[in-house]
Amino acid sequence: MKSWRSKSRKSSRKFLLVLIPLIIALALLSLPIAFSDKIKLMAGTPFQPVQKAFLKAGQEVKRAFLWLPASWAASNRVKELEGEVERLQNRLVNLEATMYGLRTELASVTEYYKEAKVAQKPLLAHVIGYDTSDFRKTFLIDAGSKHGVAKDSIVLAREVLVGRVSAVGPYSSRVILITDPASRVPARILETSDLGVVEGTSGGLCRLKYLPNFPTSDGRDLKGFKVVSAPVGGMYPDSLYIATVAEDEEEGGRPYKTLKLKPGVDLAKVDTVLILNPPSTPDVGDSPNMLSSKGSGRAGR
């Protein structure tokens, strides 16, 4: 009887021991988000060089695999491109004439805004790692607070808005992409000036939600229309290209319209990004980005 009791005591003690890791894991969940973000970035810092090396090595191997089929396809492509170059050369002449006129206009506008200009130094950073979860769309960049990155900084790739900085460490930062389900970007359709919110879907596309249900495009299909950022809320500058409308589907029974968007840049192929620090609150109205009225359409008026 005694031996049975001591046995059961021992096994229950062992079971409690097993639960300790689970209790630690659950306790970690109660950490404040800002603190846990800091821990994550601090702990990830030593792996940065290794992550960079892995990423580079992977890219090299991929390049080697793709080289053969690519060179075969390239010879056919060269012929097509030769014809295209000819067409483009003719177009260039027309564009040069337009450009001359625009340059004169730009010079006068630049002179006008010189006084109000705020120094905004964009920062260049490289992607060093991606999210471990399939459901999240974030990446790590090799620039942190030591380089001047601040939380909520805007992140651009090839002049397209790709996301914002969600957490900053000393030498690295996490960028939440526009396709992440937690991302919300105020935006408008360039051609119609309808305001909405770009939300991530956790897939390759985003959604432009909360558009008016009544048609403002004169019955035209919105597919192919450009979506740019809107300065609502002061976090994002005006008129940064975000995405193109991929699908314009009629949905009945909803108080607002939703469009499917294809990001302006292939987020899987982004390796270098530009970071613009967020406008400081008192200067929101004075920021050069906010002043830019080009293409702001009806919403800007």
């Binding site: 097993v18 890791p21 306790a27 970690l28 991929k62 991606y130 471990t132 937690a182």
Partner: protein
Amino acid sequence: MLEILQTCSAAKGVGGQAGEAVLWVILVVTALFIALLETTTFPYNLGGNLLGIRPDLFLLSTVFCALRMELLQASLVGLVMGLLKDLFSQDRIGLQTSFLTGIAIILGLLKNKLYKDHILDQLLIVFITSMLHRGICAIIIVITYQSASTASILWKVFMGSLLTLAVAPGPYLLLNKFLPPVRWKDVS
């Protein structure tokens, strides 16, 4: 590395503590290696970008270790794997740690009923666990951020689990050779 694993498992058989320490070092190094693969090579290189899905090597390692190790060791493996997954993710720290530790404990407790040493049994366990894990993650994502697309989430749950299942035989054969299963002797 295989030689070290072999030496270590032999040492463990004798009851050597040094062997167990080496085993833990190998597990932590493997977890770090998986973290690097999952954050750099798998997502967008080497053809790993299969419409946004990738095999969950963290879960795979946790499941196989839970089926082969003692209960306490299995829960510690879950803790280490989950912590590393959390460190490189936007999710809250502790979320994946809790999931993987929980999975390790549940599998550790049920393994005598589930585990039949056969590869198909283990692959089935991997698939079911992966579906459950991804399903719960998906539900959390959908509830937290209502913007997540249901089609994309369902695709990731099902196809991600299938992809995890597809890569599972590799680690299974490796572990079967170098880390033989330990029967349930902690809690009875």
